[in-house]
């Protein structure tokens, strides 16, 4: 396998040039295409990068994120594994120890659970355990969150679970542009990153500016203001960002000027960006699909409270899913924060009066 890797690595040196040429300018892409382009670039520029998982090779993944990559880079670098998530993640540990850069895929969020032991006890700890001698540059791609009326376990919000695990970094893109840049950046890190792709946004198109630098991606490790506003900050990530932008448009009709902050990194969280935004607006609502109790909203609210205690005009509100197992399609719209529930949360904060 290693000689095949070297050969394909050599063959790709020239591909790198080509890719850079392709990568100029702005293109209108779906998030699925943007992620595919990011993986293509990673394989082209990092000879040790490997993509694998269930149906990732020939089929190109059930969401087609790895479409065409096996054809382009060969079966040694993009391959199907047996149907075993613990096997996929456990093998990633060994590949990382052997100097590779695994980019495994778990087919749906709910199937990360069978691999939790490897993710928590092994991937998250190996660097620490080995006193930094065995880094785990693993980028685990997880199609995440609901909104597609899928069967059980095909739509879950695991961010709090992952963010709670020491040794893991967690990130989620909200647009095709973020998807491209965050994935290429995550794949350049020497640490394990859980990359949570909002599957309900896979087919939405948007402009992707391939240029690097702060003007296009901001700080690659930070949050990003997706809409400026004066009256209140809504903090969201993944699929909820688009919905909150819609909410902000609606609120604007009533003269309420909302700032929408895409948190992007769910661990580590950009506390500075939270403070900067809320110091300006003095009010905040956190929106997430995951259940309320012990959700990431609590963490964000605490960071805002800490950074803006003196300036806050109201307690930080949360609009979230409920403490119930992710429901079947018919109840999905009741579960995921909808526009009305988000507007109600905003109203509660705007109308708050000190007792």
């Amino acid at each position: 396998m290693s000689s095949a890797i070297l050969e394909s690595g050599a063959a790709v040196a020239h591909g790198v040039e080509r890719h850079r040429l392709e990568g100029h300018g702005v293109e209108e892409l779906s998030m699925q295409q943007a992620l595919n382009r990011a993986l293509d670039e990673v394989l082209a520029t990092q000879p040790k990068a490997l993509i694998f998982g269930e149906d990732c090779g020939r089929l190109g993944g059930v969401f087609r994120i790895t479409d065409g990559l096996q054809l382009k880079y060969g079966e040694a670098r993009v391959f199907d594994t047996p149907l075993a998530e613990s096997g996929i993640l456990g093998m990633s540990v060994g590949l990382a120890m052997a100097g590779f850069h695994p980019i495994p895929e778990v087919q749906f969020d709910g199937f990360a659970y069978p691999a939790i032991n490897q993710i928590v006890c092994q991937i998250g700890r190996m660097n620490y355990r080995s006193r930094g001698t065995l880094p785990m540059p693993i980028t685990l791609r997880v199609p995440s969150f609901g909104g597609i009326r899928a069967p059980e376990h095909h739509g879950e919000s695991l961010e709090a679970l992952f963010a709670h695990v020491p040794g893991l970094k967690v990130v989620s893109p909200s647009t095709p542009h973020e998807a491209y840049h965050l994935l290429t950046y995550a794949a350049s890190l020497p640490d394990p990153v859980i990359f949570m792709e909002p599957k309900s946004r896979y087919w939405q198109k948007g402009p992707v500016d391939f240029a690097r630098g702060p003007e296009t991606i901001g700080s690659p490790t930070g949050a990003k203001v997706m809409r400026q506003g004066r009256h209140l900050t809504v903090v969201a990530w993944g699929a909820m960002v688009a919905r909150c932008l819609q909410v902000a448009d609606l609120a604007a009709e009533d003269g309420v000027d909302i700032e929408v902050l895409d948190l992007r990194w769910l661990k580590p969280i950009d506390a500075q960006a939270l403070a900067t935004s809320v110091q300006k607006t003095r009010r905040a609502v956190v929106v997430h699909e995951a259940p309320l109790t012990s959700g990431l909203g609590a963490e964000v609210a605490q960071l805002i409270t800490h950074g803006c205690f003196d300036t806050l005009k109201a307690p930080v509100e949360r609009v979230t899913g409920f403490d119930v197992p992710y429901p079947s399609g018919d109840l999905e719209d009741e579960y995921i924060p909808n526009i009305d529930r988000i507007l109600n949360g905003i109203k509660r904060v705007l109308e708050y009066r000190r007792g």
Partner: protein, 348 residues
Amino acid sequence: MDTLPPLATGETAAPSPGQLRELYSLMVAVRHLDSSAVAWQRQGIIPGYAPELGQEAAQVGSGYAVDLTRDFVFPTYREMGVARAMGVDMVAYMATHKATWHGGLYDPMESRLAPIQAVVAGSVLHAVGWAHGQTLTGTADGKLGVALSYFGDGASSQGDVHEAMNFAALMKAPVVFFVQNNGWAISVPTERQVAGGSVAARAQGYGIPAIQVDGNDVVAVLEATRHALAHCRSGNGPALVEAMTYRRGPHSTSDDPGRYRSLAEERDGGGEDPLERFRQRLLADGIADEAFFAAALAAAKAEEEQIRAGIQALGPRPGNEMFDLVFQETTPALQAQGASWREESEHV
């Protein structure tokens, strides 16, 4: 690959002509309902479905062998034919594909069918636990209830399956591991999924007797399953049946098999249609005639129409069930969330 010891004579009898006709009627009903469910998805009646075209013999033959008074079945998501053969309420079964309620709306305790399971191999260990419970409760007459655990060739890669086999063998649990080897795990063919030649071959490593059967021959499947059940029932520990069949259609209504196999491959892999094959056999043996086949198809059509009407009439479950069914004893936080949900949803 047959390591299941022979049974004492008389332990299982060959199916009678009446039973053979019943098997045929079940297969037609399942075939018709399955193709209809795919059409329902295309028509927007249900959001998704996992078809089983070509697996009717494996499902009906095995499901028919279940003793509903004492056995318990642990399905995955493609066992519609098993459910039908067991007499499960099909509207309640289809409710899961209608996205009404995960797991379906049937009563697992009454129907002897555990809720539909989306995690592959998720219930294989459950079957072992249930089976061990039978041993613990014990029956003096050596007629144990048996757990029948359904999973695919792909699922057999999961670590849980290996733990389940080891547990079952060590504890002599009365469980039949029923593997439907339909050639594919979405896009990955069996030869790139299963090491060691076959799932049945693996059972040997755990000391579990196994039988590989032509999964497109409903009678052979019925007999193999009865054999395995009888083996477990008498306290001999677990057994494995690997039914060799073929998934003729897509993996699910959102799959595109054209990306991983050609139509020619599909034709060759599928072999003879299990339904047509059984029909020819019944005709040749003089057990059924054209009039019987026509009546069976008419009955299947009537049944499908009833089930379709049933699921179309099935409204969404009341939203408060989302909060009410999380625990037997609810929590204050959940009550508060339910209350604010009611307030906000009435508000809009």
